[in-house]
């Protein structure tokens, strides 16, 4: 290797550091679920969040962020989203096991599940594909055919019943995975009612 090569490498390193210094703020502009859906699904089928645990997602995220060429903020946002989702699903399963045990000991009230805000649930679990307004235009929609359901379409809304929506969320439909393991039945019902309101033009 000659002097020119040595100089070139030093210049490239300096350029890289300069680029880092000029980079935008640490905060990612998109949410973790949006970044995950739009980037990971470009090369391979998106893996469900409970496929791995939080530590594994941290390790996988470091490596895959290089392959996907994510910025630091995007990488952090995706890893935190996947870790959070994995923890939530694990906690839900543990809660269900506790509930079963508690029912057996007639202490149902102590473990009655708290129903979360369906709008928050929708934003966290659904908006990446179905869009913020339920129009089926989330950032991940570019990867799917058929496109995610458009709950804002009045014609489509007429064909929906509450039970159908609950079944769709619970068991999955088309490219959408089942959420039975991720969301408790009470919250699925609340979410389905929220989606019906979306289809009627409210929220």
């Amino acid at each position: 290797m000659n002097r020119n090569l040595s100089t070139s490498i030093n210049l490239l390193v300096a350029l890289a550091i300069t680029g880092a210094t000029l980079a935008s703020p640490l905060e990612a502009q998109r949410s973790g679920v949006e970044i995950w859906a739009a980037n990971c699904g470009r090369c391979h089928m998106i893996q469900p969040a409970d496929r791995y645990g939080p530590k594994a997602w941290a390790d996988i995220g470091q490596h895959m962020s290089i392959l996907a060429r994510l910025t630091s903020a995007e990488s952090t946002a995706v890893i935190e989203f996947l870790q959070g989702a994995a923890r939530r699903i694990a906690a839900q399963k543990a809660s269900e096991e506790t509930a079963i045990a508690s029912v057996a000991s007639l202490s149902v009230a102590a473990v009655a599940p708290r129903i979360g805000d369906p709008a928050d649930l929708y934003a966290g679990q659904c908006a990446a594909c179905h869009g913020k307004s339920g129009k089926g235009d989330g950032v991940a929609a570019v990867a799917f055919n058929p496109k995610p359901a458009n709950f804002a379409d009045p014609e489509f809304a007429k064909t929906l019943t509450l039970d159908q929506i609950i079944a769709g969320i619970t068991d999955g439909k088309g490219a959408m995975p089942p959420f039975a393991d991720a969301i408790p039945p009470e919250e699925i019902r609340a979410l389905a009612e929220y989606l019906l309101k979306l289809s009627e033009g409210g929220s």
């Binding site: 290797m1 040595s6 890289a16 680029g19 990612a28 490596h63 392959l67 910025t71 055919n145 088309g174």
Partner: protein, 351 residues
């Protein structure tokens, strides 16, 4: 290169690693390795139009990927490959990465050279939608090309994070061999060939690109250059590769293309080799994805020019498992056998 020059090259990344702050061990992340990977099984028929058909089963890959965070900003990644039912064992990559500088990763070790997309990102069978490689991406860009050296990988947000400017720069031991060798034969720096890199054939390369992930579009260009041999008269012989790649994705439709051209010095006359592919796939349903790929190569001798049409489909049994089938038609010129069409049925899983 003298010892002092070597240290000058190494000083900055090493200084960043040592003095830039490795961070403190981060609790659970510092403990143990995460093991993932991929594996596949294939049923293959070759030379379908000849009297010497080959039909065989292959456990093509059983590749274990080991990942670990050593501290907040330092991690390692390695892939141990067991190919063809363990007949070929090797290390695909094994590198340390430092992430303490915003939007830049400093990587050292053995890595898959970031030239284009197919070599680094798209060749694993869990991603590659047609079993096998497109023409030009086995013998012009030698696949899978991994090497030992330094790599800086960066991604900067553009337009408020709606797009990214990405770049990779690297210095590696480089492809090495004899005057006029086929490029695929230039891989490897083992003891007999290059004394583990103790030769004068270091190489540098880069890829820069623009990505619009929320519009489904990306484009990039790559360059690699280095000496690969000495001529009989002791002149340096260089190999330079350049390429472009692009993809567009919309509503389950993915169009992807890539080309590579090599300029190879040789005593008998400089060699120019060009190859490329165009691939289209469509998620017809949530589990079924047909795909077609056309690839071609132009080599120094017209007898080596070739075209290949691959038609196939994937059925996704689960998000982590796919059954792929492909029929591969090889259109060849004079001097080649014309009877080597193949089929491949493959079952691949993400571990």
């Amino acid at each position: 290169m003298g010892a002092s020059q070597r240290w000058r090259v190494m000083a900055l990344p090493l200084g960043l690693l040592i003095f830039g702050g490795l961070g403190t061990p981060s609790g659970v992340q510092a403990q143990g390795l995460t093991v993932t990977g991929y594996a596949d099984f294939e049923i293959v028929g070759e030379k379908l139009d000849s009297d010497n058909k080959d039909f065989f089963f292959d456990q093509h890959h059983f590749n274990l990927i080991l990942l670990g965070s050593l501290s907040e900003n330092l991690f390692m990644a390695g892939e141990v490959e067991y190919e063809h039912a363990g007949e070929e064992v090797g290390v695909e990559y094994a590198y340390f990465g430092y992430t303490g500088v915003e939007n830049v990763r400093f990587l050292v070790g053995k890595f898959i050279v970031p030239f284009g997309r197919f070599n680094k990102d798209l060749h694993p069978t869990t991603v590659n939608k047609i079993p096998g490689r497109p023409l030009g991406f086995a013998d012009i860009l030698p696949q899978t090309y991994n090497d030992v050296g330094l790599w800086i990988s960066g991604a900067n947000p553009v337009n408020d994070g709606e797009a990214r400017f990405v770049y990779d720069v690297y210095a590696v031991n480089g492809l090495t061999g004899e005057d006029g060798d086929g490029i695929r034969d230039l891989r490897g720096n083992d003891r007999e060939k290059a004394a583990f890199g103790r030769d004068d054939n270091k190489a540098v390369g880069t890829r820069i690109g623009l990505e619009f992930p929320y519009s489904g579009f990306d484009i990039g260009t790559s360059l690699y250059t280095g000496k690969y041999a000495k001529s009989a008269t002791d002149e340096d012989l260089r190999l330079t590769l350049w390429g472009v790649d692009a993809s567009y994705q919309r509503d389950g439709f993915v169009l992807r293309g890539e080309m590579v051209q090599a300029k190879q010095d040789a005593t008998g006359g400089d060699l120019t080799k060009t190859g490329g592919y165009l691939q289209a796939s469509y998620m017809a349903t949530s589990r079924f994805e047909p795909v077609v790929r056309w690839s071609a190569r132009n080599m120094p001798g017209p007898s080596q020019d070739q075209g290949r049409l691959a038609i196939g489909a994937s059925v996704y049994v689960t998000p982590a498992a796919a059954i792929r089938g492909a029929f591969i038609l090889n259109g060849e010129k004079d001097g080649f056998e014309s009877e080597n069409n193949t089929f491949n049925i493959q079952f691949s899983v993400i571990l």
